[in-house]
């Protein structure tokens, strides 16, 4: 189980990497969304907001009405933010579940893919 500090550190790296990626900024143009991450292992949920083509700071707790809710283990979230885990693989195996429109789900996966693979 990842600690809140580990999650915060991992997210900060993901955020920096994403916000510095010009292609990714194009991809999230006009895509202002609130995303709740809900760890299934008891770690406190946290909120990520995308606004004006930038990923906002991580906030612990479920803040605002979500467009997408992502459920998975805190370890998987941590690995995903570090770019060590392919979230699609976990999604296709049912270990990460999502609620939200398919287009929004695609964008979240796009962030993790482009930020690390630039594909």
């Amino acid at each position: 189980m990842a600690t809140p500090d580990e999650l915060a550190e991992a997210y900060a790296d993901w955020r920096r990497r994403s916000n510095e990626n010009q292609r990714l900024k194009k991809m999230v143009r006009g895509w202002d969304r609130v995303i709740h991450f809900v760890p299934s292992d008891g770690v406190e949920a946290f909120t990520m907001e995308v606004r004006d083509q930038e990923l906002g700071e991580l906030r612990f707790g479920r803040v605002g009405t979500p467009d997408v809710v992502v459920t998975g283990s805190s370890e998987d979230f941590c690995d995903m933010f570090w770019g060590d885990l392919n979230p699609s693989e976990k999604y296709m195996s049912g270990e990460i579940t999502l609620a939200g429109s398919q287009a929004d789900v695609m964008r979240i996966d796009a962030i993790s893919m482009v930020a690390f693979l630039d594909q």
Partner: protein
Amino acid sequence: MSADPTAGASGGAALRRALGLRTTVSTSAGLAFAALEYLAAAGLVGYVAGDSAWIAIGVAGLLALLAWGFFGELNGMFPTAAAIRLYMKRSMDDRVALIITFTYMTTIVLVIAADAFIVGTALAHAFGESGWVSALWIAGLLVLAVLSNLRGVSVAGWVQDLATYGVLAATVVVASAALLRSHHPLRFPLQPLHGHGLGSLVEAVALGVFLFSAFEWVTTSAEEVRRPEHVHRGMLVAVGLLFVVCSLATVAMSHVLDHHQLTSAYPQLLLGRAAFGRAGLWAMAGVTAVTALNTFNGGFITASRFVYGTAREGSLPRQLATLNDRAVPWVPVCALGVLALALALVVSLTHSWQLLVAVGAALEAMIYAVAAFCTLRLRRRSPEHPRPFRVRLAPVLSVVGIAVFGALAVVASVSVANRTDPVPLVVIAAAAAASSLYVLVVLPRVRAAEAARRAATPRRRPGRAVPAPGDGA
């Protein structure tokens, strides 16, 4: 993995945008009610006597309800767009699951191609243009569909509601008017076997199953619904709507159209003309064009996102997961457009749309049999898995489903337009062979290359051991 499976994937949180029951019904019915529906309905008339085709559709509807039960249970267990991968992977060898899934994906290409052909032909006929102009319509429609998909355009829920319910209502009005204005009593409405054998009725039922096909594609919206039960309830209502509309359209067509008109590529336009003259023909041309909205929108999104997900998972080459600046997997979208265009033009030249209907019917029956098998297998393998919706008498009904849908798949695959013809079987066998070749020969190399790439990529997370292969890294 959500804590409370009955609360859905959102874990009970209310999403800002979520689909209600009305849109779930319209999605399910809209995906099934493609333009090809009219041709399949007209084709079904040839198998049974007089105006009794509705009986075959009724039997097919009951079978669709059986399939609804299986998909309802499986979707409840895996409320995700990736459900088909999940329940098949857990029910059988992953390679077999992939071969079946890739073969089944052929249906989406077929339906998109068929709809492009039908809409193009219908518009060319309505405008009084010669046959070859329909090829231009087909190409134009598919290019438009590809471009709008590449730009990330998707149909909003309310537009989909308007389109689907409009198409269904217009079809009911036109069919009813055509029947009422014929001023002739129905011929043999309760005697499907009059002048036909039992085998013809079975073939009619197999074709009838195709009229309901794709109603289950709405399960890929499981992550978007306001309440999880909306998916299985929506499918149920959609099956009922499809039975009413298809039965009425079929009876009306059998009653007012002659054999030549029934076997044309635009029987729905001729039905419209029988009901309201030239205005009716134009109305049905418009309705036919609107059906393409759902098919192109749903078909392109479902197929391209599935290919993207499978490529991201490592089961297809990585290039298929390449995104454009609008986060759209452009390679699968373009490939789907090119394949559908090539197929639609071949159909346009050969007028072999009935072959597409037969292939689609056989593949759809096959996937229903697979759903029955998965339901049965998972009851044994994962009895403790939460099931918000359970099929009653599942062990018995699953076996019935496997036998009946398996038999219908065989019947549909060797019959085209009321005559024995093995070509659909050959097409399906070729698709299955290509899928098998990829899964058994190419995929191991794709996975090995991906594993090598990952092994060469240093782990970024500080203070943790390198994960074992298969950990998703």
